[in-house]
């Protein structure tokens, strides 16, 4: 299953952010979306999730336009971690995560949503996100970073073929930033038990994308967009001009990433 964009234009409130965006994401690939504030990263992710009306171009999953898929089929194909949520959730972390199972059957079919199987899936997702011990805690009592990991667990419980994460590392401490990226990279590759998936991340960092992403999409905020293999895209020159500040390599190895040159 591949997610493809063809001739896509992104618009926010009448302002054109980019045009003619064309790229294809295959299972097993981890894409990093980078760009300055307001360059259209979130708009792009919402569009890839099939949640925005398109003015120009097409987003397809295996040649089928996302906008023509029914809502549930689309939710099995593409899932999104929004940048923020306006929600105030009163239940426990486990209940919160099990809502992610909605498109996959039992919650919709069972009378009043009896869903034992969903809780098993939710427990596994919490474990993957390092939150297994917090299952019974009320969502509202969690810290910002804990909440973020629970929100990611909900997306894991949804288990779409393509995962879109808008700033997944926000509020996470260093250890969990690494764990989360590592987990997502493994999830993308798949293994004997699970299929390979596509992962698309919006990141605000010049260190992690170089280490964890196979591909990158750079939105410059002035209408320009470039997509390609990470080794071609994430060069010091490209990143310096993208963010308008000087960088230096973070180490001697070729994939060490960059840090700001101060």
């Amino acid at each position: 299953m591949n997610l493809a964009c063809k001739g896509l234009a992104l618009e926010v409130a009448g302002r054109t952010l980019c045009t003619g965006l064309t790229f294809t994401v295959q299972p097993g690939e981890v894409w990093g979306v980078l760009g300055p504030n307001g360059s259209g990263k979130t708009t792009l992710l919402n569009t890839l999730a099939g949640l925005s009306t398109l003015t120009q171009g097409d987003v397809t999953m295996d040649t089928q336009p996302l906008t023509q898929m029914n809502a549930v089929a689309r939710a099995r194909a593409v899932g999104i971690l929004p940048q923020h949520e306006e929600a105030e959730y009163w239940g426990t972390a486990l209940e919160y995560v099990s809502l992610g199972c909605f498109p996959n059957g039992s919650a919709r079919r069972g009378w009043m949503g009896r869903q034992h199987g969903d809780e098993i899936i939710a427990e596994r997702a919490l474990q993957q996100a390092g939150m297994a011990d917090f299952a019974a805690r009320h969502f509202a009592t969690l810290s910002g970073g804990e909440r973020q990991r629970v929100r990611i667990a909900q997306l894991l419980a949804q288990a779409p073929r393509c995962l879109l994460l808008d700033e997944p590392l926000q509020h996470l401490d260093l250890r969990y930033q690494i764990q989360m990226l590592d987990m997502l990279a493994k999830l993308a590759r798949g293994d004997a038990q699970s299929l390979a998936r596509s992962v698309i991340l919006v990141l605000h960092d010049v260190l992690w994308p170089v280490r964890f992403c196979t591909h990158a999409l750079l939105l410059d905020g002035a209408g320009g967009a470039r997509a390609g293999a990470a080794s071609d895209m994430l060069t010091q020159k490209n990143l310096e001009s993208l963010f308008g500040c000087a960088l230096q390599p973070a180490g001697d190895k070729p994939q060490a990433g960059f840090v700001p040159a101060l």
Binding site: A71, A75, P82, E85, E88, E95, L99, M112
Partner: protein
């Protein structure tokens, strides 16, 4: 384990509902024992208990139960729709619209049937205005939650001002009848069977949509990305809540605090998923109003007090307590 908490709370709530109905049937100017209540209910040859129960207390108790249940249900639905814990059943301007309609009709000297029609017209007009102002069709974000909340509040304020104007200029002989609509009173409640049937159907419907209501709380973007048809669901919730509130107001006037308080009380019992929150809130709202109404008609008997006074007297301290606890 949590599922068991929910089931236990559900069973407890069914018991409380049955007890509250039994109390409503037993208490009154002629006290009846439990045996007499049962005999009166089942045996038409039991004479006076049979007449008291079937002609006076049972219709009144069922009206109170249906009214409380409908208000609590509307509260749960609107809190889910607005993602706001402080939404209550009157946020759509239904009660102020109905009051204004009824008071206008009373001032003009119309009879009971026309007063009811005017109240219904006022309630529907309020819903239509709120809907027209806030709903934007089309794909994506059908509803701006803040616009909905604000327009309901603004409209209620406008209706309340007109209502005050009528109260000031109305002849004093008419004031008592007007207070029924403003305070909420079940003494004039008519046949409650239609309201009971509506309560049953709406509760069933809302419970069937329980998981979708849970997901709606996560926000529009998340709900749509999980495959929920958000706009269709919002429309169902809006009109379900509006229907429930109109039915309740037509039965008992603007009885306050049930719609706001009951869902909160149930959440504090640890029930947060709509699968249990909906039915348990309905039972809690019904039981609460049945008991409050029993107090209202017995405490100063033979003088009957408007039940709205009791729900507020119990509701205000409870709400203040809950609010301090939350902080």
């Amino acid at each position: 384990m949590r599922a068991r908490t929910g089931t236990a709370a559900g069973a407890a709530m069914v018991t409380i509902a049955a007890v509250s109905l039994a109390i409503a049937l037993a208490w009154g100017s002629v006290p009846l024992s439990l045996g007499q209540v049962l005999a009166g209910l089942l045996d038409s040859s039991s004479g006076i208990p049979h007449d008291i129960i079937w002609q006076l207390r049972l219709p009144r108790a069922l009206a109170a139960f249906a009214c409380g249940g409908l208000l609590a249900l509307a509260g749960v639905l609107l809190q889910a729709l607005l993602r706001n814990a402080l939404a209550d059943s009157y946020i759509l301007g239904v009660s102020s619209g109905a009051s204004l309609g009824a008071l206008s009709a009373i001032t003009l000297g119309f009879g009971a049937a026309l007063v009811n029609t005017a109240a219904l017209t006022g309630a529907i007009a309020a819903i239509a205005i709120v809907f027209g102002v806030t709903f934007r069709g089309g794909k994506g974000s059908g509803w701006n939650v803040y616009r909905l909340l604000l327009s309901g509040v603004v409209l209620s304020a406008g209706f309340a001002a007109l209502t005050s104007l009528i109260l000031v200029i109305a002849p004093s002989a008419q004031l008592k009848g007007m207070l029924f609509w403003l305070m909420g009173d079940l003494s004039y409640a008519e046949n409650p069977l239609a309201a009971c049937a509506l309560l049953f159907v709406l509760t069933l419907g809302a419970t069937a949509l329980a998981v979708r209501l849970d997901i709606l709380g996560l926000g529009d973007v998340k709900a749509r990305s999980l495959g929920v048809s958000v706009v269709a669901l919002q429309l169902m919730v809006f009109f379900g809540a509006a229907l429930a509130t109109v039915a309740a107001v037509m039965l008992g006037g603007a009885i306050g605090f049930v719609g706001l308080m009951m869902p909160h009380a149930v959440r504090l019992m640890g029930i947060t998923r709509h699968r249990m929150l909906v039915p348990v809130s309905v039972l809690a709202g019904g039981s609460f109003l049945t008991l409050a109404d029993t107090c209202a008609r017995t405490i100063m008997a033979p003088q009957q007090l408007p039940v709205g006074i009791f729900t507020a007297l119990i509701g205000v301290p409870c709400m203040l307590y809950l609010l301090t606890r939350r902080a």
